[in-house]
């Protein structure tokens, strides 16, 4: 029975997930084309100088930075919006399965989906960076883009929370909370400066996942 649930989720989100993955790969390719172009037009040592001493973020080209956020948003909407249309999630609740487990499975599916795409993108970025840059520069870049990927997860959980929430007043309040918390991931900082905040931020992102249970619970109890 669980396999069918997972398959249902896949049916809802497959095109969006595939497009998100393809766009990520394209964004990375675009990014490194620019890096290679800039390295050819400026002398390589001047380009490195700008990265190491003048805080040039070579990954800020194109939409690479917002992609994890937008991708996670799309998957969350694709996954949970159909459930709210005509309150379809109640159909799932009427199945002979534990309701909490049902929600958790749906959430786990979405999380794993985003995780796979994020890991692939991140590894591709790091791997390609190593071609042109030494370990020190790549480490700095990796630390700086890590919060953007984390923001993807946070946005996924918060969007799911908002979409599943039946009452509009609370939807609005959740939106305010999201608007306050998500910019934390995008705090302006020099390369490598985000390091002390990362562990705690990861913990907070994980804690967010539990919040989803709130909305599903309230839907179940028929609050309109």
């Amino acid at each position: 029975m669980w396999k069918s649930i997972v398959y249902k989720e896949w049916l809802k989100t497959r095109w969006f997930a595939i497009i998100y993955l393809l766009l990520s790969i394209l964004a990375i390719a675009n990014l490194f084309l620019k890096v290679q172009h800039d390295l050819t037009f400026n002398e390589a040592q001047k380009y490195w100088y700008m990265v190491v001493f003048q805080n040039l973020k070579y990954f800020k080209h194109g939409f690479f930075i917002v992609l994890p956020l937008l991708g996670a948003l799309t998957i969350a909407v694709a996954q949970y919006f159909p459930e709210t249309v005509s309150k379809r999630i109640k159909l799932s609740y009427h199945l002979p399965l534990n309701e909490n487990k049902m929600l958790l499975t749906m959430m786990l599916y979405g999380t794993i989906c985003i995780l796979i795409i994020s890991v692939v993108t991140f590894l591709l970025f790091v791997g390609l960076s190593f071609i042109w840059f030494p370990a020190e520069i790549v480490t700095g870049a990796a630390i700086t883009i890590a919060p953007y990927f984390l923001s993807g997860f946070a946005v996924y959980f918060l969007t799911a929370l908002m979409v599943l929430e039946p009452v509009w007043k609370y939807r609005f309040l959740y939106l305010i909370v999201a608007a306050i918390f998500v910019p934390v991931y995008f705090t302006r900082v020099v390369i490598g400066g985000y390091l002390p905040a990362l562990p705690l931020l990861t913990v907070f992102t994980v804690i967010l996942s539990i919040s989803l249970l709130f909305s599903g619970y309230r839907f179940r109890k028929g609050e309109m």
Binding site: K46, P134, I137, G140, V177, F181, V184, L195, S211, K221
Partner: protein, 402 residues
């Protein structure tokens, strides 16, 4: 809900500060060798005041005349530049060589430090410095990486690593300090601290490594080493030791000379050092004070002056903030270049009163609901986190246990 509390503890104090913050303008203290007294510039909404600590006011012209080295250009233009000061004849061009300025903020130390550096050719025979084609790092050995190919230059790396090794360098380097820019008068290489806190002077002369070990007391460690490029070429760098003393490393004979100043804490204070023909002015500025210590050219203390003011925390707005918010969270900090969850807890007990009031209010809000006992957790949250918890608890209503 925790996320909401965290989020609000960042956002609400920030909104409050944006609405109510007033700028704090520290007075700028200089020392006049003619008046043998301090001259202070105070900027405020009413304008600029120039006066001595005793309160004697100066006009702009009098002020500039009292500081001949700082305003030499203006005085020359006006034709009022003195020929001699304190009995010593002044040659304007020569005394320009003794002018220096140096500024260090805590944010510059508490930030990710670069680990890749360009090794300039210090005797290239050319008038201008050129950026080299490779960068070096010092980990288990010294490696030069060519920027174009991203590959290690083995021969050069081995040459320099051997030179360091023969001088007793313990890899890896703890810090590398220098001026990695072409905009300096000449290249003096880098001051490198090795794994055992020994200090070395490292540069490249005609392609060959030049390494010189600096003799320092064996238990001395430094909070920061800041290289300078001053016209008088008397010293390579300012060094601040872990016990907050200030030293210079003299040029060519590598002596560590202690300056007769104290409480130089680069972690907390902004440090500025201005040098001229007669004196050094070491200014430390903190949240609520600024202190100027004057030395003569032999680094011995001549005079000192300090001023305090009420910091933001103790001002009226700050005190209200301490009552409203049990803690304030910020992602950035003016003393640090890192991003972290910077927490500053409230120092007043007024916030506890506010928390209790909010708990009572919360009780009032839910008094109509059944089963109040289940809301104990909510009350605890409001009691601990004050206004943030109050808002969060009402956004995420606790119907979980209904």
């Amino acid at each position: 809900m925790i996320i909401a509390i965290v989020g609000f503890s960042i956002a609400l104090p920030r909104l409050y500060r944006m609405a109510f913050d007033k700028p704090v303008r520290a007075p700028f203290i200089q020392y006049s060798c003619i008046e043998k007294n301090f001259l202070i510039i105070r900027r405020s909404a009413d304008g600029i005041k120039r006066e001595t600590p005793q309160g004697k006011a100066f006009t702009r012209d009098e002020y500039e005349a009292a500081l001949p080295f700082m305003y030499a250009r203006q005085l020359l233009m006006d034709g009022t530049m003195p020929d001699s000061v304190n009995g010593v004849a002044i040659d304007v061009h020569e005394c320009n060589n003794y002018r220096s300025s140096f500024r260090l903020k805590p944010k510059m130390i508490h930030a990710p430090q670069p680990v890749l550096f360009p090794m300039f050719e210090s005797e290239s025979g050319r008038a201008r410095l050129e950026l080299p084609k490779d960068y070096f790092r010092i980990s288990w050995r010294m490696e030069f990486i060519d920027a174009k190919t991203n590959k290690v230059n083995e021969e050069k790396s081995r040459l320099f690593s051997a030179a360091l090794y023969h001088c007793g360098f313990q890899f890896p380097a703890r810090s590398i300090d220098g001026l990695p820019t072409t905009r300096k008068s000449c290249d003096e290489g880098y001051i490198v601290t090795d794994n055992k806190n020994q200090i070395f002077h490292l540069k490249m002369v005609k392609g060959e490594p030049f390494v010189n070990k600096v003799n320092i007391p064996s238990d001395m460690t430094f909070k920061t080493i800041q290289c300078v490029d001053n016209k008088d070429k008397l010293y390579y760098a300012f060094l601040v030791s872990s016990d907050n003393n200030l030293y210079v490393l003299t040029q060519d004979d590598y002596k560590l000379v202690k300056l007769e100043v104290n409480d130089i804490n680069p972690d907390k204070y902004e440090i500025r050092i201005y040098g001229d023909f007669f004196n050094f002015n070491v200014i430390t500025t903190g949240d609520n004070f600024t202190r100027s210590q004057i030395l003569n050219r032999e680094y011995k203390k001549v005079d000192e002056y300090s001023e305090t003011w009420t910091p933001l925390e103790d001002s009226r707005e700050g005190k209200i903030a301490q009552v409203l918010f049990p803690a304030q969270l910020a992602m950035t900090n003016s003393d640090s270049g890192y991003v972290n969850f910077f927490v500053s807890r409230s120092k007043s007990f007024g916030c506890l009163l506010l928390s209790l009031a909010l708990v009572v209010l919360q009780f009032f809000i839910i008094r109509k609901r059944k089963n109040k006992v289940n809301h104990i957790l909510d009350f605890c949250l409001v009691a601990f986190t004050g206004i943030f918890g109050f808002i969060a608890v009402n956004i995420f209503p606790n119907k979980f246990w209904d």
